[in-house]
């Protein structure tokens, strides 16, 4: 069991920021565990989602933002749907990832690399180019064996486009990303 000294170790600013960015009142969580019971990812998490909620209440910023769990939540909405206090738990998990990104933390780096490669593809073409995304992911992670076994199953069916479908307004989409970066850095 971890013992936390609330008076000394609680980062109240962190608690307030999570509440502000998610629009949720984290103190409503009374630790019933319903979210963890229904979470399909508990087996892969280092900290179960109900404990993430408790650690947020306790202002344990470093532990929470360094956890693998926040990168393995698939936003399946099971926790949000079943929370008896109507806390949007999945939204809090999302906000914790946003904060971890801003702190330069990603405890499951390949997940972040995959999501970044996806957005790079959208930024370049206006739509995601599935093959290009996979190639960028493999190049950046060096995981050359990723899904090699699927190639003979998918290519003969003509399902994986070999060329990106650039949209006419791709500059509009690129500008969304540019403005977002500018606003985040200002």
């Amino acid at each position: 069991m971890n013992i936390i000294n609330f008076t000394r170790d609680c980062d109240e600013d962190f608690v307030h920021r999570v509440e502000e960015e998610s629009g949720q009142n984290v103190s409503l969580c009374y630790q019933c565990g319903n979210c963890t019971a229904g979470c399909p990812y508990t087996f892969a998490y280092d900290i179960p989602v109900s404990q993430i909620m408790r650690l947020v209440q306790a202002g344990q910023k470093k532990t929470v933002l360094s956890s693998k769990s926040i990168w393995l939540c698939a936003t399946c909405e099971s926790c949000t749907t079943r929370c008896p206090n109507n806390i949007d738990v999945a939204c809090i998990m999302d906000v914790l990832r946003h904060m971890a990104r801003r702190e330069g933390l990603a405890a499951v780096p390949q997940v972040k690399t995959f999501w970044d490669a996806f957005l790079n593809s959208v930024r370049a073409h206006g739509r995601v180019f599935e093959l290009g995304l996979t190639v960028e992911y493999v190049a950046k992670t060096g995981r050359f064996w990723t899904d090699m076994d699927l190639a003979p199953k998918i290519f003969p069916k003509g399902k994986l486009a070999l060329k990106a479908h650039d949209i006419q307004g791709k500059e509009h989409v690129a500008r969304i990303f540019e403005r977002f970066e500018r606003e985040s850095n200002s």
Binding site: F114, W115, L119, L131, I154, K159
Partner: protein, 293 residues
Amino acid sequence: MSEAIAYYPGCSGLGTSKEYDASTRAVCAKVGLSLVDVPDWSCCGSTPAHTTDHTLSAALSARNLQLVADMGMKLAVTPCPSCLTNLRTANHRMEKAAFAEKANRLLDEPYSGGVNAQSVLQALVETVGLDALKAAVRTPLAGLKVACYYGCIMNRPPELMAFDDCENPMAMDNVLAAMGAEIVPFPLKVECCGASYGIPRGDIVARLAGKLLEAATLAGADMVAVACPLCQMNLDLRQGQVNRALGASYRIPVPYFTQLMGVALNIADADIGFDKLNVDPRPVLSKALTGAQ
């Protein structure tokens, strides 16, 4: 019979879920639902956008919502649950002025609001209706045992998705029953399949998809019908990976519900696209249909 509805295909409809897009278009045309493509639509940003930032995610979706508004329309349908969630979330969050102002700052053309998004399944059930769907059947799917798998986000969270039951949805069950299929009870209708972790964490998908394939097999299903490109990919294309990881030997077809509708409505094989699937549903299907005669 009905007014035209804006259609947002989603990126996977151009690639890994071509057969979902083609069968959706053919089924809708057959039952009188007139779909008009959103011109020059862009990606909604899917999971990678909302896990990065909510304003970025809303802006990527809102560009498309505004394109729908520019068409003079107030409703868009999409086959993809991830697109659906993002479009609905953006519309919902941008009802708040402060948030809308932030998201609009990222856009060339601000979003004027008021565009609703629905799943193709919802439009078929609510706009066309089960009676009309039933009346259009030419080849009943008699004798075919189907487990209906909705995926995790088509109905959840209920306040946002506002369609069907969030724990035990019935829309797809009812549609395929109207097509003549025998629906088997399937307890994991809304359980997550592993979503977009197939590439970065294949081990997770093997375990979660394996649980679904196991439940469908135990339920006595001939097939698992799906409504999501990512669920389809995890359960069908990755079925061999699941088998290797779990030492299992599942071989169960996972067609889109629109493909099964295509059979019942006598749509051309090229539009149904069973040849695009990994586990071919045709042997099981013809066995069930001949057995029932």
